[in-house]
Symmetry: C2
């Protein structure tokens, strides 16, 4: 896997093509986001902007726009849906950071540490409601259905993660269920809603949903690996957060399964969360030695390949190679 | 006012007529609520049921059903909307109790004290998303627009209240803005969405929206008065909660304005929230002496009268007197 990673890395993944193609649409999405995060209650735009301005890539709305255009959208129905997708995502981040007591998000101090947890909860609710207002504005009931369902599945995934977070015996299957719900579902819905709003035939909508889901799985797997292998300057958050919280992500689950003689170390640090200096470094070393990080990245690469395969039936269209690059980027990024 | 209250009280307000009329519809709404709060993640139905089972009256969904039937609804499109309205309401209660650190809700220990604040936040998100899935199921885009907007206005009202909660100099106008947003908006939207789903003409939809808004204002004003005049056995929550939190509700604002010589007492107990035994009783006594409670109830009675007036153009229909009774009940209830 490290070899595969190196080989691919020779051609560094770039989103430049996709970002250039999407630039006019994304400027319009940005304007919609700015306009709809406004409110006569001053703390709302202040808090929302703290998070939204920190999002450089706007990956999920980008997915909505790209899926719509690849599916042949000629009008701008996808733009409001794209803004709605970003609002749903931002709302879940605000609530997640309260739930996890996270310190850092997108390279900035987490909003609840500045404005307090109550404001973060309520501004999350505001953004979630705004998302649905934007969807109503798009006029597409099928897209509304897709994104309402996704919002519910995300919440179920978050609760499942909350109740199973510290379960050292979590199976890979349940771990994948969790990330499919809490992360991949919004990627899937973002792409599917874009395709649906373009009036694409059902099989094209399904293909783009599959692309989004596989991309989302690859994305989350790499995120979970980066939490052990990245550095804070590049990440925009502290590496080791998952370990300190005893969060049962795949790299940790694999490392624990592959080091039965270290059971005492894992029980103390993960199950009891009784950690000392050097514990994180030791966990990381065990992950490298056992190939747990490589296995996680290999699984991510598999999902990225599957994402690209889902685009096979789309004809010559500049958006297709751009979305293929996005799948490579998901795996090869360093942050 | 006390005289008016006594006179009206001779004919005790009853919801029996309304509840009997609505019984078949509300049984169907209840079944929808049960079915849609289910989830493969066990903590979700457990936590949701804790709150939903505690709601005896289901006032807001009742409003949706009654408005739809008064407006001539012959199909069951209003039922899913009514269930959605209850889910939106339950979601905001869950988040409110986390935000306010409330101890008691509907006569039961607040959910966040049993399952933790993170679960309450996330199950609130689940119910909110479920509400939108139900609205999509109703197929009415105009109703969706009304309830999406209401959800956003409620969140704005909650944030406004959070930032101004302890403001001793809050004007009556801003206080009314807050309760119009955080409470009356959902009553207004519940009634309007019912009317819209029945295909009622715009002036009927506006009239029912007005009825709902005035009813909601009356309801919240009486709630705020009961927090000083009620007892915990009847209320299902602790009286004096607002005072202990230093929450600037109308009875308190009026009492403070009418007792300038007590400024020191109010600054200590409300602004600094430095309270001792007997302070709540003294505040309550000042409210009675200055007529602050009566003035609050008089304002509520005015809104109830306005609510009834909004129904003037509806013809002979059993739902109309039932909704008039509901307006009286809002003012004359003891809990």
């Amino acid at each position: 896997m490290e070899a595969a990673r190196t080989a691919l890395a020779e051609k560094p993944p770039s989103l430049d093509g996709l970002l250039a193609l999407a630039a006019p649409d994304m400027a319009a999405v940005d304007a919609l986001i700015r306009r709809h995060m406004d409110s006569p209650v001053p703390v709302i735009p202040a808090l929302a902007d703290h998070l939204i301005a920190g999002s450089a890539k706007r990956l999920r709305p980008l997915l909505t726009v790209a899926a719509a255009r690849l599916a042949g959208a000629r009008d701008d129905a996808c733009l409001k849906l794209a803004a709605a997708v970003e609002f749903i995502h931002t709302a879940t981040l605000l609530h997640d950071d309260v739930v996890d007591s996270s310190q850092l998000r997108r390279g900035r101090v987490a909003a609840h540490l500045i404005w307090g947890a109550p404001s973060s909860v309520l501004v999350g609710d505001f953004l979630f409601a705004r998302a649905f207002e934007l969807m109503v504005g798009s006029g597409s009931m099928p897209a509304l259905e897709i994104l309402a369902r996704a919002s519910r599945v995300i919440a179920e995934g978050e609760v499942l993660q909350l109740t199973r977070a510290h379960d050292m015996d979590l199976s890979q299957e349940v771990y994948l269920d969790i990330i499919r719900a809490k992360t991949a579902e919004l990627f899937a819905a973002a792409a599917e809603a874009g395709a649906v709003s373009a009036g694409a035939p059902p099989e094209r909508c399904r293909a783009l949903r599959q692309y989004g889901q596989d991309l989302g799985l690859a994305f989350q797997l790499v995120d979970d690996a980066l939490d052990y292998s990245g550095d804070s300057a590049t990440l925009g958050k502290n590496p080791g957060d998952d370990f300190r919280e005893g969060k049962a992500t795949l790299p940790l689950l694999l490392a624990m399964a592959r080091t039965p003689t270290e059971r005492e170390f894992w029980v103390r640090t993960v199950d009891r969360r009784d950690q000392a200096d050097g514990d994180f470094e030791r966990a990381r070393e065990l992950m490298r030695q056992t190939g747990a990080l490589d296995a996680t990245l290999a699984l991510a690469a598999g999902y990225a390949a599957s994402a690209k395969a889902a685009l096979a039936d789309f004809g010559a269209n500049a958006w297709r190679p751009a979305l293929e690059d996005l799948a490579d980027f998901a795996v090869l990024r360093r942050a």
